[in-house]
């Protein structure tokens, strides 16, 4: 299946917001699985949105979904 991943600048390795479409050969993926695929440390992830809905790291992800990773909120 193909999914789109967006990573906030504060989490991305090169320090710039990152968006990419990735292809996965197997089904049953979750945001946690996909984070491992793109080398994202889940400990630094505070919020996950799947198709703009706040979701858990273990939510089911389907073909065509958009998964967004944001950092923990600090400050304010």
């Amino acid at each position: 299946m193909d999914v789109t991943i967006w990573i906030h600048a504060g989490l991305a390795r090169d320090g710039r917001a990152q968006e990419e479409c990735i292809h996965i050969d197997y089904g049953g993926s979750t945001p946690r699985d996909l984070a491992a695929v793109v080398g994202l440390d889940m400990a630094s992830v505070g919020l996950i949105f799947v198709n703009s809905i706040l979701s858990s790291p273990n939510a089911a992800v389907y073909d065509g979904d958009r998964i967004e990773y944001l950092p923990h909120l600090e400050g304010g």
């Binding site: 600048a9 504060g10 917001a17 919020l47 600090e74 400050g75 304010g76």
Partner: protein
Amino acid sequence: MSRLIRIDRKEQTAAFEPLTTDIVRLGGRALTSHLLYREVDPGCDPLGAGNKLILAPGVLSGTTAPCSGRISVGAKSPLTGGIKESNAGGTAARAMARLGIKALIIEDLPVNRDLQILYICKDGIAFHPAGELAGKGTYDTMAALRERFGTKCAILCIGPAGEQTMEIASIAINTVEGYPSRHCGRGGLGAVMGSKGLKAIIIDDNGADKEIHNLQPADSATYAAACKEWAKNLIETKKLLTRFGTSFLVDVVNKLGAIPTRNYSHGQFDQVKGLSCETLEATVNSRGGRMGHPCMPGCVIRCSNIYHDERGEYLTSGLEYETIALMGSNLDIDDYDFVATMDRMCDDFGVDTMEVGAGIGVAMEAGLLPFGDKEGALALLRSLGEGTPKGRALGRGAAHFGEGLGCRRIPTAKGQALAAYDPRVFKGTGVTYATSPMGGDHTAGNMLAGRGKWRGIEDTKQTEGQIEASVDVQLMTMVLDMLGLCIFTGPVPETMGWLSRILTAAYGETVTPDDLLAVGRTILEIEVAFNARAGIGMAANRLPEFFYTEPLGPNGTVFDVDRERLELNPWM
């Protein structure tokens, strides 16, 4: 040895007082609120002889504790009519602590209206005339005072708004570089200072002897080691704040659907890219500004920034999320140069950026000017600096200004503008807005996403558990405010653990997290009691009607936390 300084503006006298036992271990907000409750009639006129302006560094200020340089300023607020504390970074807390000044109490009113400067150093206290500074903005004032008193002094001053006792007037404090960009912004405390006839307060700690410092740890080696370890932890865990400052919240709060947009009519801003943290970082770096700037000595988080204009010249410092959102998305504007210019003008006039952003938002909703009108917004703010009737109306705060314009949707609580987290999505922060004795103030207990898990909070939009979690965070915030710590160190249980270790070393006896929270609760109860006597009872624990009835897009949620409980007694 620590002591109080009491300034009588009517008699033009200054006196040193020993500490009474009830205040020896208090500092910051805990001390300002305690002294206000002890000495001020809650029914007094905020700008009259009965009110007192109280300045207090935190308990840990002036020591090696990281991020401990906040100064609290307290008084009865001319904006809310209730008790108020507003704290800021800058250099003043450290200077006061190094001079052994636990608190500075300024009382009564001067006989004549000539502005003065209050000068405090290790050798004594003096009053100087300040007539030549009348009407000047904080930038010119600060520059003149640095030339006159030296660049090593800490300076607090007011702008024209404070002189005109506007309800949203702030008190500016200099950074190490001398910029008047750190402000005790909330609640109109600059107006109280103006009513006392003080244009500036100089704290000159040159030559201060270490023996007189406010805090000398009982176990200095353990204290230093604990502070060092905590500092390392903060540096490691707050990297995002160091890099982007609070601007990184723009993208995140927008994604959560809680960024105020067009006067809180929507929770997402379609032009958010223009206000993103990456845009700010790129703009600042390309013009020779600076990200990762410390707003006070000893800060290891360094979330502030220095913003240059298109010519590469200094424009303003410390663009924060609240200002960005309330001057940006709230006004339907996506231009950082506009936001920075507004911030500079607010700092120079000496007013709260949040009240101005919210005030212009309601003016746009009322049709005084259209949403997105940058020139109109700049002109309106300029009129405040000029003291025109319209400008003075804006200077009364968003609540008064909006009511005068016939606006029905005014985002305030207890007369104070809300911060840039819509309470229909950030329901825990909504509880804080509604219940805090400080009025609509996120710095009294911000329930950011991720906080409150210990109360079962998994989503800022859930209803259950928000009251308990907000109260917890308000108590932990009180502890930070008492100690002079930046709230970005975190009003969370982990921080209470660090502070337990540090204070145990400081006092030479065990201080538990529960001990700290117990002090926090006592002070909070004092503040609630002060407000009750000022006529602001539990029934005032509410938000404007539209937050309960008008669903906020795109989530479609309203503020639906148990209203009856908020208005009876949320603290039980």
